[in-house]
Symmetry: C2
Subunit: 205 residues, 2 copies
């Protein structure tokens, strides 16, 4: 006697939006249905603002050709800035992690976004990440320190170990965020104080 | 030292979408951020399909001038259909309730969507609902039964009572959806009110 909620909407534009929303992570059929019916009656400006914001996201967003963070201009504001410490690179998994670190105000160097972590279970190897691009930046010279800021979980640690092995022959200082971060946690959810402590307490690998 | 996650995205198109998503019911700042960063990297067809589905929802959807359900054509498919039992009207709170009842395949009559319930706490009175339109349909004649299918909670019951008082002088049959134990439910977990209703509403097998 179980029915699929998405079938409930036999009106094409409604069914279509429910279907599109369901593809988003963490949005199930019921939530998709509730959001759709909310949008049916929400102020029309709110709805068109949402549609435009989604449409223009991809039109305006690109990836920085240097650090691979998301950006509007290429290179991104951080890579282009002379005010940053250009002799250190902080390596993170995701663009969200750059946002989190910037919020602390503790770090003034450059970044490098891997866009993932090494995860054999998910079939993600080193070649699927922006590791080649990082090594190219290292070869270009001028970098004294690489801070490995991957998440403090299994995949993040493994990726950091992998990078440390690649980087140590280059004679640069390779550091890792201090264990102020709770194991098994997620960097993007860390509060600023914990994250600040983790930056100031970073250690040689 | 609590920071607002939305500040994290200092890239205008990202900040804009996070802000727009946050206005949706049940979507907090963290979820809005996660969805936005998902959309940054999702297949571009998926993202533009979502944007278009939202934009076209309001362009294509209107309310049926007869039953006030959402529809593409006016009158809606149900109101226009000669195959439906045109002598009965099922009164529901929301368009979603029509979908739920249609899915049962048990009801073949017409509908009337109130778009809410009487709720003095929220400042919603009878004039805020499509009750006048329902009474106009009644005056037009041909209706033998009105099924009050508002939700079995305080506001839904109050609204049903209010409608029953308005409708009974018209000499039509006024019914309410049966209350009792939900199918697949467990008697020991049923609340007292439901169980009381199930006892008083018991039927010959």
């Amino acid at each position: 006697m179980h029915s699929e909620p998405r079938r409930s909407a036999n009106i094409p534009p409604v069914a279509r939006l429910i279907e599109a929303l369901q593809r988003l992570p963490g949005i199930g059929p019921k939530t998709a249905q509730r959001l759709t019916f909310y949008l049916v009656r929400a102020p029309v400006e709110e709805v068109s603002e949402l549609a435009q914001a989604i449409a223009e996201l991809r039109a305006q967003i690109r990836f920085c050709s240097v650090c691979h963070n998301i950006t509007v201009a290429d290179p991104c504001g951080i890579c282009a800035s002379e005010a940053r410490d250009r002799d250190r690179i902080c390596v993170v998994e995701e663009p969200l992690d750059v946002s989190a670190l910037e919020r602390t105000g503790e770090y003034h160097g450059l970044y490098h976004v891997l866009h993932g972590v090494i995860s054999p279970v998910d079939g993600i190897g080193p070649d699927d990440l922006r590791i080649d691009a990082l090594m190219a930046r290292m070869r270009a010279g001028g970098i004294d320190e690489v801070i490995l800021a991957t998440n403090p979980n299994l995949e993040g640690e493994a990726t950091a170990m992998y990078l440390a092995r690649l980087l140590s022959p280059l004679g640069v200082r390779v550091t890792r965020l201090a264990r102020g971060l709770p194991m098994g946690g997620d960097l993007e959810y860390a509060d600023e104080v914990t994250l600040s402590r983790a930056i100031t307490g970073r250690r040689e690998v």
